[in-house]
Amino acid sequence: MMLPVYLGLLRKAEQMLASSYRQVAEGHGAEPDVYHLCQTLAQQCDQHERALAPVTERYGEQPDDEPERLHAVGISSTRTGPVGLIRDLQDLYLLANLVDVTWMMVKQAALALRDDQLVAVVGQCDAQIKVQLGWLTTRMKQAAPQALIIAK
């Protein structure tokens, strides 16, 4: 059974997203909405990790034998300026999508296992990730014209 591998991937992806949100918050503190919402969303990711814990306790967690082909290591430093902001938000968007699709795979397994507890956890956490994607999209769309056309 390879679900434990995916539970490990999911936990690491949520951790990576949380630390990336915090990095972007610090790097773009002059944008108060970005600062505060990235902090809030990082806490959501922390909470997802906690929500997964009882499930992981039941199934265990395994490392993946396969080496990573696409290396998503999270955001370790941020850019500056208006274009830097949308590029950093865009990176967050990619990472959040990685989390989202990983939840989707776990959900499929949970449904096939008839694991009500895991289905409930997925329902709650993945809905929040979808809102996170919605916020990132909303914020980037707002910022893009000014950043790409006229900002210095």
């Binding site: 809030t40 300026g81 919605g134 909303t138 707002q142 014209p145």
Partner: protein, 837 residues
């Protein structure tokens, strides 16, 4: 007769500084609120001296009291309330009585345009000033395009002026960077209604006060912010079947003093309280399940979200008594008709839109909407804020159109005769705080500020001053006075104001009033409409067929154009003309062929404007502000049902800590309006509340060894103010400062040091949905810097009264603060006629 009332010329004279609300005229539920015509004439002027009375409505708060202006020898010399009007039944508040005329007659009015030459503002003529603006504007449009332009307007212009500005910005220039200071006062009201009901539009009416069994005031110090509306409630309280009053406010306001339940929540915890109140409705079965099923979507999620919020958990989070939460919920749950009103305590606090939506939810859960006495008043902070929201000179599209609905944008393009792509609709219009951020970053290089004073009213003032002072921005300021903001301008334009121009405006409960021109403006001052039209002409803005974009020559032309724009939309003005507004009462929109007399209450049939093709907004996630989007909104299958939106409580981001151990909140006093540009010029008002103060509880004052009148330094991570202390009735752990006091009339020391404006300390942060700044959530420390030389100047008549009565000289007005108030219990009003018809 009240204490201090005297007879003069046969009329009852009352000191309306000492007695803010005037004589009581008690009435019972379902009865008619008696008429009392309040009047104030300038010293030495008798009624027989007056040449003419000119119809208007008051612009010194958001209540929208109808009035007539007395004119003698081509000067405004007095004011009286209009008896017939549905809003005020003849009454006026102290600001209206004493501030309206002196605010306009001041010798400090701007009378000529000014331009900056060698760093100094010098007077010039209109052609020179406008040429300078147009030259800069044209150059930037050619070199950088429309995104280089920003407009920051007001909640105090007239409808015709907002609409002109909206058309110029959206169809002439094509910039999304337009907003008003309505963002600071009323954006959350609009946002909460859009989220819950699909569109802006006040559900309730002031008439609901007359019919209700209970009034809930959420973060709404109505006794000071809308004194005439509060008089109506006081008259119900004095009547035979007093309504219950529930007050949510961290200060012991006048509202709190008469409340059956006062919930003095910690600032920043409103959402927790609301989730707790709603939980009680579910737990006790005070929910009209059938109505909810038929008229709403989303109740199941709300039920889940509020489930953990027991009264005990609310008590712990909000710092209130658990039994008070139960009692408040019981009053709501067991009363047949509840009126809820909401203002800045919710709108300018953490989770503003979320908490305000919960007020809507309380009513939706009980099906208490659109019925006499059972209403919601999501209040406004300014007299014409509603029109800015309607006309779209703020972050909205005109007539509550949806920027995400291409058909709506096309309607505007057709109406204005321009290509749809000229009108920015790729994302929501830019909100005020973001406009200032773009100025800070240098990408907005042309900023036109009209009738507002961000140098005092915006948060974190040191930053705002720095932004206004940047060389990268060409700043145009259009105002009555040389405000703190105007001092940074490249061009200053002298505007004509209230009584000096004709136009319409609309109050909180959708009532439209006409304000006629009474006198000529001073010097060369021109109406804001004329200024905008002149700019449009000089810029050469044209429609697709080459005719002028704005071919209006009078306010009435602009109004007629607006009527067309509003046709078929929720705010339909097509049945309200200048002529129908002259002589009688204001009229509440929508007014059209189906509703020729206007509409008192919206949603009487439980049908809401949530049809996807009709709604103003597809909504947002309340925690993040993420847009829901058309597809997801259609999936809700609203079809005229209201949307019950829920949100988990999230603690405020700035909480007290060791360095800044106190919570800081800001607000208003009854005697001043905004940044005092008008009210400071009234001797009666300014004597009553002449200078800044900070309020602190007795417990905190004792711990910090602060006594009444001691000079204290209040410091936040962003700045400091140095002001006298009022040991007052704010909740322990919280301090309060009024936000009115800028620097134009301050001592050199205060104005050079920037040490009196409450917004020196506030935080640059906003609600994720409404984008309204959080003026009521900050952490501060306070230390004594000098002994008192006397008590602070805080008024004793209202929430700022001292904790220990009798320790401070009482606030009184004196002879020049006496105004007449003539009660006529039989007098006719527009709403009485309607009730009897």
């Amino acid at each position: 007769m009240l204490t201090g009332a005297t007879e003069r010329h046969g009329d009852l004279m009352t000191d309306r500084i000492a007695d803010i609300w005037g004589e009581r005229t008690p009435f019972g539920r379902g009865e008619h609120w008696p008429v009392r015509v309040d009047q104030k004439l300038a010293d030495g002027v008798l009624e027989t001296d007056i040449d003419r009375w000119v119809q208007s409505a008051c612009v010194l708060c958001s209540n929208g009291c109808a009035c007539d202006i007395a004119v003698k020898d081509e000067r405004m010399v007095g004011i009286r309330g209009r008896a017939v009007d549905r809003v005020n039944h003849g009454r006026l508040g102290p600001k209206g009585l004493f501030g309206s005329i002196p605010g306009m007659n001041s010798r400090e009015r701007l009378t000529r345009p000014m331009i900056r030459i060698d760093g100094q503002l010098v007077e010039t003529d209109w052609d020179t000033a406008m040429s300078r603006i147009v030259e800069r504007s044209k150059t930037l449009l050619a070199e950088k395009g429309p995104l280089s332009h920003g407009f920051y307007t007001s909640g105090q212009l007239f409808l015709e002026e907002y609409y002109a500005l909206a058309v110029i910005g959206k169809a002439g220039i094509g910039t999304p960077h337009m907003d008003g200071n309505t963002r600071l006062c009323t954006a959350t009201a609009a946002a909460a209604m859009k989220e819950s009901f699909g569109s802006d539009g006040q559900p309730g009416s002031y008439l609901d006060i007359d019919d209700c069994d209970a009034v809930f005031l959420y973060g709404h110090n109505m006794a000071e912010t809308q004194t005439v509306l509060w008089a109506r409630i006081l008259d119900r309280i004095a009547g035979p079947d007093r309504p219950f009053i529930v007050c949510v406010d961290p200060r012991e306001t006048e509202v709190a003093k008469v409340a059956d339940v006062h919930l003095p929540v910690r600032p920043g915890t409103n959402q927790a309280l609301m989730n707790g109140l709603i939980r009680e409705l579910f737990v006790h079965g005070w929910v009209d399940e059938a109505w909810v099923q038929e008229h709403t979507v989303g109740v199941d999620e709300l039920r889940l979200v509020v489930d953990p919020w027991t009264p005990e958990k609310v008590a712990e989070t909000c710092g209130v008594d658990a039994d008070d939460v139960r009692r408040a919920a019981r009053i709501f749950g067991e009363s047949e008709r509840v009126l809820s009103t909401v203002l800045q305590g919710f709108y300018q606090s953490a989770q503003a839109t979320a908490a305000s939506c919960q007020v809507n939810n309380m009513h939706l859960l009980r099906g208490m909407i659109g019925k006499p006495g059972a209403g919601i008043l999501q209040m406004n902070g300014q007299p014409t804020a509603q029109n800015n929201r309607e006309c779209g000179a703020d972050g909205d599209l005109p007539a509550f159109r949806n920027w995400e609905n291409k058909e709506h944008v096309q309607q505007l393009a057709t109406l204005w005769g321009v290509d749809i792509d000229v009108i920015p609709h790729w994302s929501p219009p830019t909100h005020a705080m973001q406009i200032f951020r773009y100025v800070e970053q240098g990408s907005i290089e042309f900023l036109w500020v009209s009738a507002t004073n961000p140098a005092v009213s915006m948060p974190q003032l040191e930053r705002i001053r720095r932004i206004l002072d940047q060389d990268s921005v060409f700043l145009v300021v259009q105002d009555l006075f040389l405000t703190e903001t105007a001092r940074y301008a490249d061009v200053v334009l002298p505007a004509a104001g209230w009584g000096e121009k004709t136009g319409t405006f609309t109050n909180v409960n959708r009532t439209v009033h006409l304000s006629d021109k009474a006198i000529e403006p001073p010097g060369e001052a021109r109406s804001d409409l004329d200024i905008f039209l002149d700019y449009s002409t000089r810029m050469g803005f044209v429609t697709n067929d080459g005719s002028p974009l704005l071919d209006w020559s009078s306010p009435e032309d602009a109004y007629r154009a607006w009527q067309e724009c509003s046709r078929g939309r929720p705010c339909d003005y097509t049945g309200i003309s200048y002529d129908t507004l002259r002589g009688g009462s204001g009229i509440p929109w929508p007014c059209n062929t189906e509703n020729p007399g206007g509409v008192t209450r919206l949603y009487t049939d439980g049908v809401f404007p949530t049809e996807p093709d009709y709604c103003e907004s597809f909504g947002h996630d309340l925690l993040t502000g993420a847009t829901v989007g058309e597809q997801a909104f259609r999936a809700l299958e609203t079809h005229g049902k209201a949307v019950i939106k829920s949100a988990q409580y999230a603690p405020p981001h700035e909480e007290p800590d060791d360095d800044y151990p106190l919570r800081y909140t800001t607000g208003r006093t009854a005697y001043q309006f905004h940044t005092r540009t008008k009210t400071a010029r009234s001797s009666q008002l300014n004597r009553a509340a002449p200078s800044a103060w900070v309020e602190i509880s007795r417990t905190d004052a004792d711990a910090l060894r602060l006594a009444e009148g001691d000079i204290a330094r209040v410091t936040s991570p962003r700045g400091e103010i140095v002001v006298p202390v009022r040991v007052g009735n704010v909740r322990e752990g919280t301090v309060f400062a009024p936000f009115h006091y800028g620097y134009f009339d301050a001592s050199t020391e205060v104005s050079n040091g920037h040490t009196s404006a409450a917004n020196e300390l506030t935080v640059t942060e906003w609600d994720p949905v409404s984008k309204q700044p959080l003026f009521k959530n900050a952490a501060v420390r306070i230390v004594k810097v000098a002994d008192a030389v006397g008590p602070s100047d805080a008024p004793t008549t209202t929430a700022s009264r001292p904790a220990v009565p009798g320790t401070v000289r009482l606030t009184v007005g004196g002879p020049d603060a006496e105004a007449s108030g003539v009660v006529d219990r039989d007098a006719w009003t527009a709403d009485r006629a309607e009730a009897l018809s």
